[in-house]
């Protein structure tokens, strides 16, 4: 995977290999979320190119964008859960839209909910969940469809340190199975404990790649 973009404020050239696990860090407003949004093609760069899996994101047609997005698991910084649907419905939303058989949807949903420790909240609505529980639902949704690429924006901001580490281990397991993982986070302590490649941004500038 190859990324080269001018965005938010400055320009940046960054290459992430297939199957990598990369942390994206930097102070508030550095441009982490912007980079992740560009990678989901939620925004299009005003200049520069983003190339994912050999394909330029800015040159994709609307239907190619749809196909591409289905292969990406995204954890939004503000969760973006559907307030009128239960946890189960939120999680099975993508498989359902993709027309997967109900039995498969159900099996996968139980599996990811167990991963994030929320099997007992299956029928709750998002507003009945605590902030951390909502965040874990968002993580579960991102993982249900065996994505080729996981983009997680601050997926542990509302979780206590122990739970945060558990979620990170989850990402590590998925990464071990070949999925590329890109996680934006402020939690330096967490990065230290997971110990993976880290990219630091500041004011939209790449300041460190370790």
């Amino acid at each position: 995977m190859y990324t080269r973009g001018v965005y938010a404020l400055r320009d940046l050239t960054l290459t992430i290999g297939k199957g990598d696990f990369v942390f994206l860090t930097g102070p508030s407003g550095a441009g982490k979320s912007t980079l992740l949004r560009l990678l989901l093609r939620q925004d299009v760069p005003s200049a520069g190119h983003l190339i994912v899996g050999g394909r330029s994101l800015s040159k994709m047609s609307a239907s190619q964008v749809q196909t591409y997005r289905r292969s990406v698991g995204f954890v939004f910084q503000d969760f973006k859960l559907i307030p009128t649907r239960t946890v189960y419905e939120n999680i099975t939303f993508v498989p359902r839209v993709l027309g997967q058989p109900v039995a498969v949807q159900r099996r996968k949903a139980f599996q990811v909910l167990k991963w994030v420790g929320l099997q007992h909240r299956l029928n709750a609505f998002p507003e009945e969940l605590s902030g951390g529980e909502q965040q874990r639902v968002a993580v579960a949704r991102a993982l249900i469809n065996d994505p080729a690429l996981v983009l997680a924006d601050e997926p542990t901001g509302n979780l206590d340190p122990d739970l945060a580490l558990e979620i990170m281990n989850l990402f590590r397991d998925i990464n071990a199975r070949g999925t590329t993982v890109l996680v934006a986070t402020h939690d330096r302590e967490l990065i230290r404990r997971v110990g993976k490649q880290t990219v630091t941004l500041e004011h939209g500038l790449l300041v460190e790649d370790a």
Partner: protein
């Protein structure tokens, strides 16, 4: 197929969640379609009536006092070959006198005391309804007036023409009203669908971000609009049938003599079906209008 099932279940869910607003949209749609149906009903009845009245338009050929049978035959030939006449009846002078006496009893005795019947014999001519307003009728009248044995031709179309103009004006006004109502129904439905869209904006955004096909995103809203319009049309149709069944006999009884039972008939099947289909179409357009914003 999957998208269809999905759209139906979502549309139903959405309508049920917003039953109040949906009911309102259905009511508006049915109100406008009901008015449309009523206008159609009144319009077809009125034109049927008018046709009958046109046919009964006064076209009388008064014979000169000493008209010979040859002259009468020539008159009958002229009428028959004109292609305008549906039927004709010879009214002898005695029959004319009898009619006059019935209409003006005060004068009956006076006229009876006259040495001879002052009333002429005549032909009562029934014009073919579809040609009753044709200018050639005027030409026929002029031709007959020149013919031997004819004392006068009375052909009064003023009254019918007035009626026709009245019906025309009423139709124009009615169509304008229907246009306004149709627009209102369409926009009301679009409003409700937009409400549904607003309420599910988060959902739509997420659908877009997980790569859902456009048909999945828009389908339920278009379907919701269509169903609202269809329901409105069915309601309107039901009310229309009810009003027709309840109102027909009183109207015929009220206007006894003027309106025959056969003049008041329900809409032909094709028109009725178009009415219902039109409701669905209005709703569909409303849904499309609203769903357009969901990309």
């Amino acid at each position: 197929m999957n998208a269809v099932v999905y759209a139906i279940s979502e549309a139903w869910r959405s309508m049920w969640r917003r039953r109040g607003a949906s009911l309102m949209a259905v009511l508006t749609a049915s109100a406008s379609l009901f008015v449309l149906g009523l206008l159609l009903l009144a319009g077809t009845s009125a034109s049927r009536l008018l046709e009958r009245w046109s046919a009964a338009a006064e076209f009388s050929v008064f014979l000169a006092d000493g008209a010979t049978p040859t002259e009468r035959a020539a008159i009958e030939r002229t009428l028959g070959s004109s292609g305008l006449v549906a039927g004709q009846a010879f009214v002898p002078a005695e029959e004319a006198l009898r009619r006059f006496s019935r209409q003006f009893p005060d004068l009956a005795a006076a006229v009876a005391s006259l040495p001879a019947n002052p009333l002429p014999a005549s032909y009562d001519v029934q014009l073919r309804p579809e040609l009753a307003r044709d200018p050639s009728v005027g030409r026929l009248a002029a031709q007959l007036r020149q013919q031997a044995g004819v004392s006068d031709v009375r052909y009064d179309r003023r009254w019918i023409e007035r009626l026709l103009r009245l019906v025309g004006a009423a139709r124009t006004a009615g169509l304008a009203l229907v246009a306004v109502l149709t627009l209102a129904a369409c926009l009301t439905i679009a409003g409700v669908v937009r409400l549904a869209l607003h309420a599910r904006r988060a959902e739509i955004e997420i659908m877009q971000l997980v790569g859902a096909p456009l048909a999945y995103i828009r389908g339920p809203f278009v379907l919701e609009g269509t169903l609202l319009g269809l329901t409105g049309a069915v309601v309107a149709f039901g009310v229309l049938v009810g009003v027709y069944l309840l109102g027909r006999d009183p109207i015929v009884a009220w206007a006894a003599g003027l309106v025959a039972a056969g003049d008041v008939r329900f809409l032909p099947l094709g028109v009725a079906l178009s009415l219902v289909g039109g409701g669905a179409a209005i709703g569909c357009v409303g849904g499309l209008l609203a769903a357009r914003t969901a990309r």
